[in-house]
């Protein structure tokens, strides 16, 4: 089930919702043509439910929003970037498992 706790954001909203947001944030950069991105989708939804209120989980479609991926030098997806207080904390590229994603999130939670 897709979680309504996952926020879908655009280039325009990136500064206000992510960099200046009240919570740390994990953004999943994805695209509809990327099989591994779609495959980790259910895990992202689970994490959004489990960490509700502690971290914001967001997704950005790189086809529709080229500016932000460009700014962070993303040339492979899925890439997940963790932000806290407007700064990039860490990132993971590739379809990793839930333990690695949990480990990443626990750096800021």
């Amino acid at each position: 089930m897709a979680s309504d706790k996952v926020m879908h954001i655009s280039d325009d909203e990136f500064d206000s919702k992510i960099l200046q947001g009240d919570l740390p944030c994990l953004i999943d950069f994805w695209a509809p043509w990327c099989g591994p991105c779609k495959a980790i989708g259910p895990m992202i939804d689970e994490l959004a439910e489990e960490y509700d209120g502690k971290i914001r989980i967001a997704k950005m479609n790189v086809d529709d929003n080229p500016a932000t991926p460009g700014k962070y030098g993303i040339r492979a997806i899925p890439t997940l970037i963790l932000f806290k207080d407007g700064e990039k904390v860490d990132q993971i590229t590739g379809a990793v498992g839930k333990p690695q994603l949990t480990e990443l999130i626990n750096k800021v939670v």
Partner: protein, 309 residues
């Protein structure tokens, strides 16, 4: 007989594991499929699957595994996302230790942990991974619109993905260490007919160079003893697979010189009650269809084993 949590545990959720799971669930075995990451395995990184029987028009790798997964789910296959950190497969009861401290036991195990893309192990490869070095054309190809890129490899995957990459790139240079491609004729013909693809034969990439923005240049060494450079912003390394055996008890399992698990034609390993199927098996041909077929054989062998305990 000692009690165990499951009659069968399947390790890995690619085509081999999902097929074994489909058979086991349909045959009402107490069965669990354990997957460490996303279900689907390497097929997910395949842009287009043109030769899976029944899919007349072809299909995407993602859609194919999604269907396999849904098919197994129709028979209520139980699955778990977990990382197994150690195994004891020698006894009558097989023990799997999970990362979260939990322990699973089973009477039989099918190993379908698959493979991962092979690496070149050359300078620059690791630091530029995700910054111009890629192992998945489907995932990363669209980031190279109107750019010059290289593909390393000469097999089916390499050549098929080189063709796919021409949808985005300005020019794709295939670099192959032999003088002829290994890919099937139909794939080769398509590639040779594509004027966006160049070929450099009898050459190896020895270093990947770049700057802050990622890959800029490849250093090549040619069989005739000369060297050269190639300006590209991306390099797709598609040189075959290595087995995902890191966590497996490989001291107990019989394996070939490359580390792939040896089985008989019924998918039995040297350990009673332990079977292997798919890309992790020692074999010549790694196709989705034979991974699925081996998954079915392994499950039937496991049932036969369980019935004779």
């Amino acid at each position: 007989m000692q009690p165990a949590d499951y009659q069968l545990i399947i390790l890995g959720g690619g085509p081999a594991g999902l097929t074994a799971g489909l058979y086991a669930a349909r045959n009402k075995l107490r069965c669990l499929l354990v997957e460490k990451g996303a279900q689907g395995g390497q097929v997910l990184t395949t842009d287009w699957v043109d030769n899976y029987p029944g899919f007349i028009e072809g299909t995407t790798g993602f859609e194919l595994v999604e269907k396999m997964s849904a098919h197994a789910a129709r028979f209520d296959l139980q699955t778990m996302f977990a990382h197994v950190t150690s195994f004891d497969l020698k006894g009558e009861i097989k023990i799997l230790q999970l990362e979260n401290g939990e322990k699973l036991t089973a009477q039989s195990v099918i190993i379908c942990a698959g493979g991962s893309p092979g690496k070149l192990y050359i300078p620059g490869e690791e630091v530029f991974t995700g910054k111009g070095v890629s192992y998945c054309a489907t995932c990363d190809g669209p980031f190279y619109k109107e750019q010059d890129i290289a593909v390393v490899g000469g097999g089916n995957t390499a050549i098929q993905e080189a063709i796919h990459l021409t949808k985005f790139a300005r020019k794709v240079t295939v670099i192959h260490r032999r003088k002829e491609l290994r890919a099937t004729r139909i794939v080769q013909d398509k590639a040779f007919a594509n004027d966006k693809i160049d070929f450099i034969f009898d050459a190896e990439v020895t270093e990947i160079k770049g700057g802050e923005n990622g890959v800029e240049q490849l250093i090549l060494s040619h069989k005739n003893g000369t060297g050269s450079t190639l300006e590209v912003s991306g390099i797709f390394i598609l040189i075959g697979v290595v087995p995902n055996t890191e966590m497996l008890p490989m001291d107990d399992l019989e394996k070939d010189e490359y580390g792939f698990i040896i089985t008989d034609t019924e998918m039995k390993t040297n350990l009673p009650g332990v079977f292997a199927a798919g890309d992790i098996r020692s074999k010549n041909f790694r196709q989705i269809i034979n991974a699925a077929g081996e998954g079915a054989t392994a499950e039937l062998s496991a049932e036969h084993y369980l019935a004779n305990l």
